[in-house]
Symmetry: C2
Subunit: 656 residues, 2 copies
């Protein structure tokens, strides 16, 4: 059964079977951007959107079951597979699932604003107020300032009969004296060696050498005339599944010049990386996957460089942190076995390579260094988090929790560290939740249910509520529980009430009633179930690590919570719903984006680079998928806060 709309008859819906016609080329126009593209007959609207770069949300990666890729056909002929994910009203208004709709003529499509990408609110160095102190500490009590790539101005003497040292050794000697390097001969490109004598003579032996650390050895990657040591820049990159965050860093001063962020444009191939791997595998699209992420990284770098009049040739290094799959996509190394038993990465420690070789458009001999990962499901973003929270150097026990598409957990101190990843799902990033959204403009980031059942809330940007981000969802579940609207299993306590109603997906609670052009923002039973599954996954991971090491919540000196929740995360709520162990709120530190902070620390300190490598190789990974008790703990954690209330002694207080 197929659904088709006739040209110029927007409201005419006749269900017919359209016969296959010879493939023609049609123009697709997307509103409100006005972007156009030409595609062969039969192309899906989602593919057309991807082709032209129009962002259409798609969690399932185009499989037709997430229902996120709704668009409206304004004009034109198409063919849609039937779906239960559209209401009769939507069908009447020519709303279609972009992934399930094939183009049969020139066509005009409107993409609703809910898909729109907003980068202004993406966390760059979130909650830096609380976090900076930690980072500051870290840098103070350890890592010396020694950037991965340095420019050193060398004022050498011209050779004389008495001082006959050859040009190359003269340069090496000067660099070694400056950097206290003991290697006898630094690596140097053949072409640089060939140009060396002319460069030295032209500049009267006054040159700036760009020296990079590469795999334990130092390399002279560039020589410039005169003193250019003040113009040495680098990019620290957090390569998230959802967002790409870049800091442009001045390597001379160590200061951050500016930051930029964008959505990872691989999103249209699936919102989590497992979907993307499947998509790329089925469509032989690993090159495309790499091109997407390269495009994001390059665009952000160019934007920052242009804004600050930085020459791309003066950007000499890129340091990346992110999950293991994203690193594989960036380098286009095979990620397929990440999703298949025995869940193995191609590389956890990626050897430093030339950024240009990978396709990052900085100085052609500049370096790309990726922080090391621990395992297929514990990436270098977690290593970065450990690095900046200094979990690995603390005498006392700490817990690090990063909530993203997955929930990664690390537990330990300076003697040992364990980590695990729960397939939490991206609920707290707003995916899989009817009105969930990322921490962008209009997202509810704080919420309280008042005695009358109405909600007091705050949105990012103080604009009308468009949806709910992570911190808002944490508040919502917590408030629903505290106010007895849901029970400890997450089920609505009643069938009806002032704000309780029956929606298509069962019971739902209205957080923000419909007003003007805005539809009501509700939280549905499936939403709650998804969120509880997420938190249960995280908690089960924590519990198993703590049980394995015979630790109890009172043994924890600190919990570091990282992730893209939104800036006003109330850490107590994470305990209330049973996501984090029951420790006093002052022990919980929301540390924001530790991935970018770690990338930057490594960029600025060779010591930190070594520390990151030690963290990654010294951490014990526990595979939960094969853990005999994981399912049991997961099921137990699906109560609010937990089946076993003795684990949450403060629960009574909170609900009291």
């Amino acid at each position: 059964m197929f659904r088709a709309a006739q040209v110029f008859t927007r409201s005419c819906l006749t269900i017919t079977k359209v016969k296959a016609a010879p493939k023609k080329i049609y123009t697709v126009r997307f509103e409100p951007s006005g972007l156009k593209t030409e595609v062969p007959e039969g192309t899906s609207l989602l593919e057309a959107a991807r082709k032209v770069g129009v962002y259409v949300s798609s969690i399932c990666g185009g499989d037709g079951y997430c229902g996120k890729c709704k668009v409206t056909v304004d004009e034109g002929q198409y063919q849609s597979k039937p779906t239960t994910l559209l209401t009769p009203e939507e069908v009447r208004e020519n709303v279609v699932l972009a992934c399930q709709t094939r183009i049969l003529s020139d066509i005009n499509v409107t993409v609703p604003k809910t898909h729109a990408l907003e980068t202004d609110q993406i966390l760059t160095e979130a909650d830096t107020v609380r976090f900076s102190r930690l980072t500051g500490e870290a840098l103070e009590d350890g890592f010396a300032f020694a950037p991965l790539v340095r420019k050193i101005f060398l004022q050498m003497n011209r050779p004389t009969v008495k001082d006959y040292t050859a040009d190359h050794e003269r340069l090496n000697l000067a660099v070694r004296q400056n950097l206290e390097i003991t290697t006898p001969v630094l690596q140097m490109g053949y072409r640089i060696l060939q140009e060396l004598p002319y460069m030295l003579q032209r500049t009267d032996y006054k040159v700036t050498a760009t020296v990079a650390c590469r795999g334990g050895a130092a390399e002279i990657v560039q020589l410039e005339a005169g003193d250019t040591s003040g113009t040495n820049y680098a990019a620290a990159v957090d390569l998230g599944t959802t967002t790409v965050v870049i800091h442009l860093v001045n390597l001379t001063t160590g200061g951050t010049i500016d930051t930029e962020a964008a959505y990872n444009s691989q999103i249209s191939f699936g919102e989590d990386y497992i979907r993307r791997i499947i998509y790329a595998e089925e469509n032989d699209a690993f090159d495309e996957m790499q091109n997407r992420i390269l495009h994001d990284v390059n665009s952000l770098i160019v934007t920052l460089a242009e804004r600050h009049h930085v020459n791309l040739q003066d950007i000499t290094a890129v340091v990346c942190a992110g999950n293991t799959a994203m690193m594989h996509f960036l380098l286009n190394i095979d990620p397929r076995r990440i999703r298949r038993e025995p869940y193995v990465a191609t590389a956890a420690f990626i050897p430093p390579v030339r950024a240009a070789e990978v396709g990052i458009q900085i100085n052609k001999r500049g370096l790309l260094y990726c922080l090391p990962s621990v395992a297929a499901y514990v990436g270098s973003d977690i290593v970065a988090g450990i690095l900046v929270t200094r979990l690995n150097t603390r005498d006392n026990l700490s817990l690090f929790v990063d909530i993203g598409t997955n929930g990664e957990v690390a537990l330990g101190n300076r003697h040992w560290m364990m980590c695990a990843s729960s397939s939490a799902g991206p609920a707290f990033e707003g995916s899989g939740v009817k009105h969930g959204m990322r921490a962008g403009t209009g997202a509810i980031e704080k919420l309280q249910i008042l005695p009358d059942g109405s909600c007091d809330y705050q949105t990012i940007g103080d604009t009308p509520a468009a949806g709910i981000c992570g911190s808002g969802l944490l508040d919502t579940i917590s408030e629903l529980l505290i106010n007895g609207i849901i029970d400890r299993t997450g089920r609505f306590a009643q069938k009806d009430g002032a704000r309780l109603s029956q929606g298509e997906e069962g019971s739902q609670y209205t957080l923000v009633p419909a007003h003007d052009s805005h539809e009501a923002i509700v939280i549905t039973q499936p939403d709650i179930n998804n969120l509880i599954r997420s938190k249960a996954g995280v908690f089960a991971a924590i519990k198993l690590l703590m049980d394995a090491t015979q630790k109890r919540p009172e043994d924890l000196d600190a919990i570091f919570l990282a992730g893209g929740f939104g800036n006003y995360l109330n850490v107590e709520k994470a305990v209330t719903i049973g996501m984090l162990p029951d420790v006093p709120p002052e022990k919980i530190h929301f540390v924001g984006n530790t991935s970018i902070a770690g990338a930057k620390t490594v960029l600025l300190s060779r010591q930190a680079q070594i520390a990151a490598e030690q963290i990654a190789s010294g951490m014990t990974y526990t595979d939960l998928m094969s853990h005999p008790k994981y399912m049991e703990e997961f099921v137990k954690a699906k109560f609010l806060p937990h089946t076993n209330l003795s684990l949450f002694p403060s629960h009574r207080l909170a609900t009291g």
Copy 2:
């Protein structure tokens, strides 16, 4: 004044001035090779010969004053500058100096056999009988077998859920365990990383890794399926000014498979490297200079590889030793300042580069490692010599003397080392001597003057005498002195005698009378003067180093004499003529080609590589050109054996 010959009138010599005509293209044919080339009108015969690859001897590099480039014009029109270097008989027979003769028509030229290159007798590992013991010692008491590039067969386990180490780390770990490398991450090319998972899965994790040492770091340069560890080869190269010697080495066993040698085809641009630098500078021919030497190296490698069915891709390293200028030519790095005050090289320590990048056609990621030099005039061939004679590790004082185009001298023990280079000139290599020749077929390598004034001699290959090589020249001077035919200044004691006659260059002594088609082989007064200048330069260098360190001949425990003299060098004669200090003959060891031996030692032992670098950086170079006493010592050493006979107490005995 110009000399021209009319077409078809070989014997017609009319001296006329030929008017410049529009440039035409003429065919030049060289006999006996039959090689032909086309050149524009006015091209010199020497240029034409170079173009087509016909070897025409030329010491002066084409300046018209060495007289070595004589050829005979059989047919055709030409224009020659007048010269005193041709006899009237030669002029009558259309013999011309190739460098001074311009082509004015199609022309046929015969290149005399005396120019012919013979490679069969070039020293490869000369006098290995005496030398091998030394090298053997050296390898026994120190250098562990650890080739610069190794192939290691790795049998890794497939990953499992319990053993989830990523492919890249699995490989790194396996390599590190095998090689006892402590670096956490080995360098590896991006493309190899991309191919890694497919390679490992295809081979069930059984691969051979090719690991190279590069600038203090290790690098995986190649991965091959299965066990290929038995097919790992390398070339050790002695890049001499005159000859290029190559040993094909099995890196798995350390054994030498075979050796090949050829003349350095840069010779046609000048027989010493200073001439070649001047030529290249004046003609912008540094690329051509590199191409020549690359051609020699590549041809020899291909010859050896084909002969032994070795795939060029399985040759993974090339290690070179040679003088500083030759290294510059090979890498095409600027050698011009080597010949100008303050006599500075571009690089003495050349960083390891990919051989393919330079133009050596082995495995595309194979390494080229050049042994380090000490200074512009003390090259890595001398470092190689020190390495294999172990001068640098001996408690007692030793002297190392290498006689080639220049004479380099090193003095020292395990506490200190000094070195110097004398511009000895290539007389003992046969250049600048009327009947001098290299140690090839027909060269007189041993000579004794009998009481009747006739000579008893031995030639290489037992063929009729064609000339005299280094060891023969040493014998000749020594015998002339002992028999009172020349006095201590080197002048002939009489004007006439049985074998003494007046030639064009003054007095000359007939060593081998003319017979059949062979002209007489004589030694002339200028020859003797050149040879005495050579030996005086070497001795002055030795004397200055010994004086500077207050050492006397009796302090010397050993003298190591290296060079391309010929295989039957009588070391006592070197004392008789005053080239070496007066020590008992048993202390003098002729060690042959230590340059190739050192290159091979470094190729086979990472320890030796480090030792070579320590030798090069630990040696004190004395510049004789600016030394206030060099000229004085040189003049004193121009007597046979020396002005000061007290330096040669055994002299009376020898002449007695």
